[in-house]
């Protein structure tokens, strides 16, 4: 390349950077004038595309849309002075990339200057945006983040809230349910356990191993499989070859569906059959009809709770599909908490954060009070009973159904 061409190229690139700088300088002004507001601006960035779209599409996006629709149909968010302001939504796609999620939140906070930011889907993404949310003073009501380190995160980011518990909660509750069933003679003390090689699966299995051991169970099969696994024939055959009465899989939706299908094929129906994420999805019930009976998983609902029933009906009506039985209602409830906090203290974010931490809220998931910024009152174990996925543990929680073991065989 000759010198002149080089210089021309250089000048061109300088001008390109100049154009970019112009674009950026627009960033430094941003929208101001919050007076005379006609709406409450609420923004969120979730995975509309990419690898996480499947999870976000079931739990997060429908509930965000449903809530906005519900609130705006009622005339908007109620403020302490009795006036109502409609919600204006700013929606971004994080494309299942952490970097995009971080930048989208920066944009929502400093460019769009929204009033509130709803959290993204997934543990990793909620952690990625946590420092920003804390720094910008936004309450972060993380739902789809299962982490045992929530107490530590609350200390680090005091405006963060963690609503779905930690891996250990689910595992120890399961171990307790199993111990009770064994003592009642429904199952023996051997367990075949598999888990997906991903953050969630590892968290649960790491907590399950000691919990099961402490409860006096013997792990006769314990394997970890990669996320990309689609054929579980070998695993199921080996589990079936053991004498274990319990099969526990800490799996993601694709695995959960495949495990369910393939265990029916090989006629593997142990007395206790526990699957991971996805067993509470509507499509799980559609695909397996009455065979879902007795299958256990995370989450659940209280079938006699009228608010929950009303929520599920609305979800079906507006979204056109039933809600899933685990995180959906919590997601919707988290928004109701925000809504009620605003109703009590207005749009001041600090006050809302304070109210979220200390207040008591009436939601679709029942009455909620957070402990140390965490929701502890959750269904850790659920079971399909009579076509509904009901919560069975904690057994002493109000509305708990009794676990029914052994599970009936496949039809």
């Amino acid at each position: 390349m000759s010198q002149t061409v080089l210089r021309r190229a250089f000048l061109r690139s300088v001008s390109a950077f100049g154009a970019a700088a112009l674009f950026l300088s627009a960033m430094s002004e941003g929208a101001t004038a919050q007076d005379d507001r006609t709406s409450v601006r609420i923004g969120y960035a979730v995975s509309l595309s990419g690898a996480n779209a499947g999870g976000a599409g079931i739990t997060t996006i429908p509930n965000y849309r449903l809530w906005v629709e519900d609130v705006n149909a009622a005339g908007g968010l109620l403020l302490p002075d009795g006036s109502r302001l409609p919600i204006e939504v700013i929606e971004y796609d994080d494309r299942s990339s952490s970097e995009e999620a971080v930048r989208a939140v920066e944009r929502l906070a400093t460019q769009d200057e929204v009033d509130f930011i709803l959290p993204p889907w997934g543990t990793g993404f909620n952690l990625a945006i946590a420092p920003l949310m804390a720094r910008a003073g936004y309450p972060q009501i993380a739902v789809t983040a299962v982490t045992d380190r929530a107490p530590e995160f609350v200390e680090r980011w005091p405006s963060s809230f963690w609503l779905l518990g930690g891996g250990a909660d689910y595992s120890t509750a399961l171990a307790a349910v199993m111990a009770e069933a064994r003592d009642a003679g429904a199952i023996n003390n051997q367990v075949a356990m598999i888990s997906v090689a991903d953050g969630f699966g590892i968290d649960l299995v790491n907590a399950a191993r000691p919990a099961l051991a402490e409860a006096g169970f013997e792990l006769v099969y314990d394997e970890v499989f990669p996320v990309g696994t689609s054929d579980f024939s070998t695993i199921l055959n080996e589990a079936r070859a053991t004498t274990a009465d319990s099969f526990v899989a800490f799996s993601y939706p694709p695995h959960t569906f495949a495990l369910m299908q393939q265990s029916q094929v090989v006629d593997y129906s142990p007395p206790l059959f526990y699957l991971g994420v996805g067993a509470g999805f509507p499509v799980f019930q559609n695909m397996n009809a009455e065979n879902v009976e007795g299958v256990m998983s995370l989450g659940g609902i209280d079938p006699n709770n009228p608010q929950n029933a009303a929520y599920r009906e609305r979800h079906q009506e507006v979204i056109g599909a039933p809600a899933d039985y685990w995180a959906s209602v919590i997601t919707y409830s988290s928004l109701q908490m925000l809504q009620q906090a605003i109703e009590r203290v207005g749009l001041d974010r600090e006050a809302v954060t304070q109210e979220l931490a200390t207040g008591t809220f009436e939601t679709a998931a029942g009455t909620i009070t957070l402990e140390n910024n965490q929701l502890r009152d959750l269904w850790w174990v659920g079971q399909w009973q009579g076509g509904t996925f009901v919560g069975v543990a904690p057994t002493d929680r109000e509305g708990a159904s009794a676990p029914q073991l052994p599970k009936p065989g496949w039809n």
Binding site: T4, R12, A16, G50, D93, E99, E106, P131, A197
Partner: protein, 316 residues
């Protein structure tokens, strides 16, 4: 001397870019971080793939290695040492991969590099699950966007300077010769494998550093997050858009494309994939040699064909 002028201008631009974030809000800085990150990725990618025409999809493999190294070591080693370790690991992997693959040509190299990223991801996962017993890792480094931006900007300057220096060096000439005709290059006395290996390793090391520098921004790191294959493809298309054989080409492709993606995902979040796909197809169709070559082609008096265009349209 025009070179001197160019250097003064470049230094001034660099100084301007360095102080720019002081006047920007967090989102503006976030944009600069993303943009600069891709400028470095695309430039480093083009450093090897531009002259040799070996299309590498291993970008994310090295990017992920960098990010993971920081996640593993950030709490046990001082930060500069962590970066050094990331460099060393990236370099080692690049040398091993380079030694075993540089015999592969054309599509087989593309497929290999694509598979490599997946293999490394599987191995990291397996290691974490079976040896360390955790999968996600946390990075609590006290860096804000602006610190990451300054590091990336410095790396961008170094990368462009290296590219410029290589393009004028014996090595640069060797690579262009290799890209044209490996047999002729070898018979002219060029150690083809060594030239390719050196550049591949250098390019991979820079890419590793980008991953290492950007990782603290995400706080939480797991294989699915850092080995996201889209990064490889975006890097590739940015470099192609600007022109992979020019010094400023990749940067010139990365900046507008990055801003375009940002605009699309903000304004058409639901149609992002479709528009991105169509745009990708259009670039391959209408700008196979990049914008710079296109502009130069338009300016060039008729009849004079720039060399790269000839390669595509002319006789084999």
């Amino acid at each position: 001397m025009s070179t001197t002028v160019a250097f003064i201008l470049a230094a001034a631009a660099l100084a301007g870019l360095a102080v720019a974030p002081l006047f920007l809000n967090a989102y503006g800085i976030g944009l600069l971080v993303g943009m600069t990150g891709y400028v470095v990725l695309a430039s480093a990618w083009a450093m090897f793939s531009g002259p040799t025409r070996y299309v590498s999809l291993a970008t994310v493999a090295f990017f992920g290695i960098g990010a993971y190294t920081v996640a593993v070591l950030s709490e046990t080693l001082p930060y500069p040492l962590v970066l050094l370790c990331a460099c060393a690991i990236g370099l080692t992997v690049a040398l091993i991969v380079g030694l075993s693959t540089l015999r592969l040509a054309g599509i087989y190299f593309v497929i290999f590099t694509f598979g490599l990223a997946e293999l490394i991801r599987q191995l990291v996962t397996w290691y974490e699950v079976n040896v360390t017993g955790t999968l996600g890792r946390y990075i609590f480094l006290p860096f804000e966007g602006i610190h990451i931006y300054w590091q990336l900007l410095a790396l961008a300057a170094v990368t462009l300077l290296l590219s410029w220096w290589i393009s004028r060096s014996r090595l640069g000439l060797a690579l262009r010769a290799v890209g044209d005709d490996e047999v002729v290059a070898a018979h002219a006395g060029i150690n083809v494998s060594r030239a390719k290996l050196m550049l591949f390793a250098l390019s991979a090391t820079i890419i590793t550093l980008v991953g290492a520098i950007q990782a603290p921004r995400w706080v939480y790191v797991e294989p699915a997050i850092v080995f996201n294959p889209t990064i490889s493809f975006l890097t590739l298309i940015m470099a192609l858009l600007g022109g992979a054989t020019r010094l400023w080409g990749p940067a010139l492709g990365a900046v507008p494309l990055f801003l375009l993606f940002e605009w699309l995902s903000a304004n058409f979040p639901n149609y992002f994939s479709i528009i991105l796909g169509i745009f990708f197809i259009c670039i391959v169709f209408f700008l196979p040699q990049g914008v710079l070559a296109k502009i130069e082609g338009l300016r060039r008096p008729a009849g004079k064909v720039p060399p790269e265009d000839k390669e595509r349209s002319g006789a084999a």
